[in-house]
Point group: C2
């Protein structure tokens, strides 16, 4: 048994049980992967994959268990490297952040700039994606942390720490009729075409919930995956925008007016996630604390040890 064999079966599963793609992803030959997997199966004395003729169609029962433990072995092996690099140079290393548009654009710039000041030798990288992709990148080890409002709390492999809460606001062009109301209502809002986020982005679930609870059917004319697209179309007069409050900048967005909507939609919690069971570098803990002062090294370590349970703000 060797690490390579374990990597091969993990990647094969990740690539949807396709040896060819697994080999490509690992920059090696496909027959090599095939052979190593068969040798591991022979050594362990159990078949890991169910094969129909020469196709791999699923994991066997033992294969599922073997995969689980193999992933733990590989995670610990990665930890070994991280532990060593922590000592090699406590101030240097690489740090990858997976995140969504809204976080990258409005929440992270401050944190990233402070972090770079504190750790100039750390090679920082950002990877943008949907909340699901963010979760996947952290689980696959492509990213060290993931930041998003949606989805993160739903993966048992991840520890999704609540970082901050925020509300939506409504954006309209200047002189829009809604600006006359002293306090806006959902009923009033639903009379206009609406421009907001795509499902699965930036609190869209909470927006839908609020309308459904009132029995209203809003007319969503544009579902975007980022706030800047929404703002652009509100400026064009396509409809009324619903965005995260932090996406509005009075100085920059002169062609828009902001209407408070905190009372209309449930509060949203943005989370920062790390993979359970991995070793975090010292500067990673500092990043978490820069992002949210509540996430001290101590409290994060406690949460990492504390098994499955989540905690809320």
């Amino acid at each position: 048994m060797n690490f390579q064999q374990l990597r091969y079966i993990r990647e094969t599963v990740r690539q949807g049980l396709n040896l060819t793609e697994a080999a490509a992803k690992l920059f090696t030959s496909q027959p090599g992967v095939s052979k190593q997997i068969r040798e591991l199966e022979h050594e362990l004395g159990v078949e890991i994959f169910v094969r129909r003729g020469k196709r791999i169609v699923s994991l066997t029962l033992p294969g599922e268990q073997v995969l689980k433990v193999a992933e733990r072995v590989l995670d610990e092996a990665d930890n070994l490297k991280r532990v060593a690099s922590e000592f090699r140079d406590i101030e240097a290393g690489t740090f990858a952040i997976a995140t969504t548009h809204t976080q990258a654009r409005y929440a992270l710039p401050r944190v990233v700039s402070e972090f770079r000041k504190k750790y100039p030798k750390v090679h920082l990288s950002l990877h943008q994606g949907t909340p699901q992709q963010v979760a996947g990148m952290v689980i696959d080890g492509v990213a060290d942390v993931g930041v998003a409002t949606e989805a993160l709390a739903g993966y048992p492999e991840l520890l999704a720490l609540p970082a901050y809460t925020w509300s939506h606001c409504v954006l309209v062009p200047p002189k829009h009729p809604l600006l006359r109301d002293s306090a806006i209502t959902l009923e009033a809002l639903s009379r206009y075409p609406i421009v907001t986020y795509d499902a699965a982005f930036t609190g869209r679930t909470h927006i839908d919930e609020a309308f459904v609870a009132k029995g209203l059917k809003p007319d969503i004319v544009l579902a975007a995956s980022d706030s800047d697209v929404i703002k652009a179309y509100v400026e064009l007069g396509l409809g009324v925008g619903i965005v995260a409050a932090m996406a509005f900048d009075e100085d920059r967005d002169r062609e828009l007016r902001r209407i408070d909507a905190a009372h209309l939609f449930p509060t949203n919690t943005s989370r920062i996630a790390v993979k359970r069971g991995i070793f975090l570098r010292g500067f990673a803990y500092d990043f978490l604390e820069l992002f949210s002062p509540r996430l001290s090294r101590k409290s994060v370590e406690r949460a990492l040890k504390g098994g499955q349970e989540m905690y809320e703000l």
Copy 2:
């Protein structure tokens, strides 16, 4: 990085930082071990061992951390094999029990015989030693479980499950003056020479505690590591015996009389220990339950997941 390198550093530490002995234990050449360790150090970019000239004198700070994680990697790799063998033949395998004399002689025979009836295909082995050796065998993976009254609860690497409780009794030759008293006292006992266990065996700590609490200094004339030696010398009239109650057999020990002493010494708890973080075969869970019905598979799994805390009977 490969498994062999991790095994080499683990064994080197186990052998007291002696490469030569580590190589011998692993049936390989000493230069090979040296080279592989240096290559791992080079790959990780940190020194694992502190060398004075050509002697290894201690672990470096990073070395201590690396060792910890390396042990987890190797434990998980062992788990992988165990998981596989669980599927290969659910009824077959090997099972090693580390235990002390008293347990092996008086507590385990029933359990072992029931176990062998249930799992005739499992290759069962017993390894006798001191409580400390028992703990060591479980930690090193030489044994799957360890059974003893002393020491086991003191190792953070082990989960020491309370299995049953027992008391000491006093053994004397027939017609001994102590037989005239209706209820024995520590004061009465301390007037006679005493034959009992060696320190660190079978509840000896509890015996000492009881005498110290009363300000008594018993005259221990023989400190044995097993009950049979104690009984033999009590029969010879060397002194009064204090042994585990289960060690007295009315039919077999015709030359001895038993005096209840449960009120004199604290109750003892015998424990069965497994190493934390390892995968237990199905039959191992059954062994635990045969030993103590309280140790159901469910409760043991809960305890294994539940981190550090112990629980008492």
